[in-house]
Symmetry: none
């Protein structure tokens, strides 16, 4: 049975859009959207300046494509993991979350967070997309887990949204650091980011537990009289 003859050139051609997006993402994250030149993107992708315009009609559209492509990939991966997940909800947080995060952190997708922080005010459409496709589903997922925990008496009743943020914001923040300060002066203090994230999630989940506070422990905000 003959394999369809895929010449190097054809493969190249089909891979083009992805190569362009990769080059663009790298540079947008490194230097910011406004400071990145189309020639640089083209050069890094190994094509000429004009070729860019055969695939994306403007720099701005290229930016949006970069963000959409990376996020939808990442969302899809996350959803897959969740669908395939067997185990308790707590497991979802203790194991799935760090694993998913680490993939993200180690992939170019981590840069997209910086891109969003950086460019969202210039291109507010990005905000809508990001909120709808990433933030809301993600928060919904984690929020649901926490809510179930509360209802099951595992967790103290607290503001669920807040707890989600307590869990998630440092993860996002580490992605940002990776592409800003982390690329200049290492914050060595953090050790391996993965370990930090593990400890962080553990810390927050412990903070959510219901238990008798050991006397003399770090004072709760409103110490009981007596």
């Amino acid at each position: 049975m003959s394999v369809p003859a895929v010449t190097p050139r054809q493969r190249r051609k089909e891979a083009r859009p992805q190569e362009l997006l990769d080059a663009a993402l790298e540079l947008f994250v490194e230097k910011g959207f406004a400071a990145t030149r189309q020639d640089e993107i083209a050069a890094r992708a190994g094509v000429s300046k004009g070729t860019l315009y055969l695939y994306y009609p403007s720099k701005e559209e290229l930016l949006k494509a970069v963000i959409r492509e990376r996020l939808s990939t990442e969302i899809e991966a996350g959803m897959q993991q969740v669908r395939q997940h067997v185990g308790s909800n707590a497991d979802l947080l203790r194991s799935l979350l760090p694993r998913w995060w680490e993939n993200m952190f180690n992939s170019p997708a981590s840069g997209v967070f910086k891109l969003i922080i950086t460019e969202v005010r210039t291109f507010p459409e990005i905000a809508d997309y990001y909120m709808r496709e990433v933030v809301e589903p993600g928060h919904h997922l984690i929020g649901t887990v926490l809510q179930r925990g509360i209802e099951a008496g595992e967790f103290r009743p607290i503001n669920v949204e807040g707890a989600v943020h307590s869990l998630v914001l440092p993860m996002v923040m580490l992605c940002l650091h990776k592409h800003s300060l982390g690329a200049c002066s290492a914050i060595e203090s953090l050790g391996h980011p993965h370990d930090f994230i593990q400890q962080h999630i553990d810390l927050v989940l412990r903070g959510l537990e219901i238990r008798d506070t050991k006397p003399g422990a770090a004072a709760p905000r409103k110490p009981r009289p007596g």
Copy 2:
């Protein structure tokens, strides 16, 4: 009685640098350094384009001045608060931290975080300054408090640096949000940021406490068999 001879022109002139810095900060945070035009800054400060150059020799120097001025003000304020603080170390975290953060969050200084994330790779000198003047002293302060707590038996022995980050990163992240997504689509879910920060700190500090885990509570990482 002689009126002090401060003409409008003089008053204007002394206030200039601050007015320029304020206008520049606003715009750099809104649109990014590269996408902000010197004319815009001048216009917002109510002067002509050329006047900018009487005070700052280039756009880049203006950026650095903006960052330095805001951070040094903020550092000074923070140090003041700490120096004047009476009370336990736990108080320092439970009350001083949120209060200091809220000032920051509600002032233009909150934008500086975005500026640093955004521009640090283009101007790596900024990283040095920020690490040396802000990150290190800040982390040292909080780290010391946690370390004392551990030594006093209040807190579980954990990686202190990590705990500092667990406390602080969401605070920084909220500043970033304020000037990016927050300026587009409100993340209403968060309620008042101040309340979230209170809850967050409480959550982390509880997570640090030593206590007997209530049976059935959210599983510790390695559940005992049986």
Copy 3:
């Protein structure tokens, strides 16, 4: 028979650098380097402002290219003439020198002298180039001829370098005049510059001759006693 595939666009492109250099030389000589605008050069060359930067990375580099190109052309032409020259050394001065000068004078290259006088203090690299490539070889050539004449007893022994300057400086000066005063108010008095140069060279060479001074003629500096 296949037509050579030189499209108008290609022809255009190859001719560009020379067209730009020509336009730039004209304007630099007319108005001076600092007072010439890049737009003007572009306009005179029939291209847009940006196109200039495809060929020369800055105004200053354009200046240097202009000077180098013209001088190297001129040097090459002069060397050719000398190499092909048959005849006595005196011929070299009496015929070759005026001929070579006239070519120079009537070509745009004459303006380069003005350019050098005008801009050399601002761009001292030009001095090095000009001295090494033009002044030294030129003076060496003429100096050698005079030296031989002295050794052969044709010429009085005098300071050869000085004699070279006596011959050459008026030739350079005429080039300067052509592009300064000469372009405003004609110095009609000079008649045809070529005739002047002929007479000048003749005058100097006669002044170099050894002969018995006719009694009563213009007093030599140190009249022989009795």
Copy 4:
């Protein structure tokens, strides 16, 4: 008898215009008119930028004043020397000319020649002034001496205007060199400019003499028959 009290301030005030002109001349000659900034001139003269405008209404007027002032001084000095001259016409050329030239060469006035060459096309009024006040009287003076020499049988009958140029152009050229190439790389070959000028004038005057050409000497262009 009391000397009128001239305070330093008054002296200063009266000297102002001259100080400004001196500073302006230096800088215009060094860097060219267009590339010289008013602030620099003011700074070199020790006044503030605004003060310039109290004396000269624009940069262009300042340039013209600079040229006029230096030239009229120089012309006056030259005329004085000629008026006071006693001796033959030949002396006028052999001694007065070099002496007058040396004064010029060693004074800031030498720079004016460069200024004229450089700026005359931008400000053609300068040409009229220079031709009328400097070139014509100067040429007339020298031309008259030569003419008398011809009529007296001292000099060969040649084109007088040309001979004047043969004498004078190298003198001017040396002034130009002093402020262009000479200020970068010395043309050491010339020795002392004064000596060169002496030799040059001698050379030309010898070339003008009537005498029997020594057989075998450098061939005159049109050897007399017989």
